[in-house]
Each structure stands twice: as structure tokens, then as C-alpha cells.
Subunit: 152 residues, 2 copies
DNA sequence: CCTGAAAGGGCAAGCAC
DNA sequence: GTGCTTGCCCTTTCAGG
């Protein structure tokens, strides 16, 4: 994980379709060397996968919200995790420190659909309350960080 | 945006490196037709970009936190947005409804580094307070949704 | 880590059905 | 949308330095 790997990761986050030749140019490496480094980054799990960034509004989920979940039981166990995974509107779920127990990120088509997700969250054993934060506008949100502060 | 497009998007989220032949097989299309649909999805902006999913811990940012920012001024304007963008530890920033004004997602190497980010947030004009939520464990967090509930 | 070369595969464009 | 063809670039893997 030296500086060259950092450059490669940054470049791939911006565009994972570019060729190893282009990546090599950015890092000052040959295409072969760039390819070898990226292969090792995948192997080590630094790069988990190659994926696409989908516009949520374009697929009918313009409403973004975060929900703090309070619980009267420990929420760090597998049955709870499985229940969370079963809700497709959840984009993220975290066990947190603080007055609440969980924080989840939710995308729905409408606020009515959000309400239905909340209903399903309340159905999970141990959940005693929720606090919903509705997003009015997303300033930025991307594949790991604000758009390249001094990247290229 | 019919059902076939949905299948293609789902498959690409899981693995954007797979061939159009494989995508076509999943959707019941030829490689050429699959390619054409994906090309149009990119063109329309439904697919914003192809990117990689990097393990935050592997790049020295194991500490994840969310911060609710209170402000005594409207935070929806561009100077504020620019100030947020200038903080590389911020992974997301949202203008929200509710008692706080902004919600940001932060990744740092240590809690000391988090403290320094908070200091920089306080330096933004209009910021009057913060409430920090530290993540103990991430249950899931991926490219758009829990790992394929009934996907394949 | 670089160069070079050979081999394979996927992508793009065009056209007929 | 399918099936096919042609050309091109990139990837992959080998060699050797």
C-alpha cells in the first residue's frame, strides 16, 4: 500500500472502466505493472469489487432518509442483522454508540413507503423507538470521498 | 426502465467486470442487446459511473462516524457546500429536515483524526453545534442495498 | 519493475432478418 | 431484438533483463 497503490485506487474509484495502460500512465508505471498491482489489491481485499453507481432517483427511489433506532436489547447479534438484511429499502445498517442503538440509511419512492419501512423496523424484536431524519438535498455522496480534492 | 434493465443493473452492481455475454444470459438477451441496453443506461445517467468498492480499513480509515450539524443559518447554499467538499474525510453530506441542519458521514484513521474533522466543521460559517455518532460495527453497506435478497 | 511478443477475448459498427 | 462479420484495442501470459 504505497503511494502508487493510492493513485491507482483513486483513479479506479473515478472510473473503473479505464484501461491498465491509462492507469499506468497516471501512476508512472507500465500497463503490465499497473495490472499486477491492481490484481494484488483485489487479491488482498483492498478492492472488494467492481460495481456501478446507480442514480437512485432514476430507479424510483428519490426519498433518502436516515433512521436512528432505539432498542431495549442488544442489537449486535445475527438474528437482528438478518432482519435488517431482509428489508431491501435499507442501503446501510450500523450498530452505533450513543443514545440510539442502530443507524440505518433508507431509500424509498415515497414518504408513504418510508412509513412502511418504519413499520417493518418496529416489528424487529427489541426495537423500542425510532427517530427519522429526512434528507432534503444531498450535497455529495460518492464512491469514497468528495470528488478528488487534489486528485488530478 | 423495464424489468430487464432492472436485472442488468442488479447484476452490474454485484459485479461490473462480467461480460455482456454473461449479462445477456441473466436477462435472457443476446450479448449485443445487453450491451446496447447498458450503453443506454449510461447515456441516460441511470448508471452514473463504474467504480470500485474499497475496504476503508485497508486504506487506513477504520473509524466511521456520522455527525449531525446544527446551524444558526441556512446551510443549503454553495459556499457551505464548497467548505464541506474541501474536507476529504467526508464521504457524504446531506441537508436534512429536523432539529439539525446537516448530516455528514466521516471516515478517519483514529478518533483523534475525527476530532480534527469536527474542528474543521466548526470553522464553517454558521455552524453552531454538532452531535457525533460513532459506528461500532457496520452490519452491511454496499453499492445500493442489502446483498440481493431474492436477486439470483 | 520494464520491455516485447504472441494469443485470446471482448467491444464497436454495420447490416440482414 | 437477433445473429453474424470485421476490425480494433485491451488483457493475459509468456519470455528475458
Amino acid at each position: 500500500m504505497d503511494e502508487l497503490d493510492q493513485i491507482l485506487l483513486m483513479a479506479l474509484r473515478e472510473d473503473a472502466t479505464q484501461s491498465y495502460a491509462a492507469l499506468g500512465r497516471l501512476a508512472g508505471l507500465s500497463a503490465g505493472a499497473a495490472h499486477e498491482r491492481v490484481r494484488k489489491l483485489r487479491e488482498r481485499g483492498v478492492i472488494r469489487r467492481t460495481t456501478i453507481d446507480v442514480d437512485p432517483a432514476a430507479v424510483g427511489r428519490p426519498v433518502l432518509s436516515f433512521v436512528l433506532i432505539e432498542a431495549n436489547a442488544w442489537m449486535g447479534e445475527e438474528p437482528v442483522h438478518a432482519a435488517l438484511r431482509a428489508i431491501p429499502e435499507l442501503e446501510e445498517a450500523h450498530v452505533i454508540a450513543g443514545s440510539a442503538s442502530l443507524l440505518v440509511k433508507i431509500r424509498t419512492g415515497t414518504t408513504e413507503a418510508l412509513q412502511d419501512v418504519l413499520r417493518r423496523l418496529f416489528a424487529i424484536e427489541g426495537v423500542s423507538g425510532t427517530q427519522t431524519i429526512v434528507v432534503l438535498e444531498t450535497v455529495f455522496e460518492g464512491a469514497g470521498g468528495p470528488p478528488a480534492p487534489s486528485g488530478h
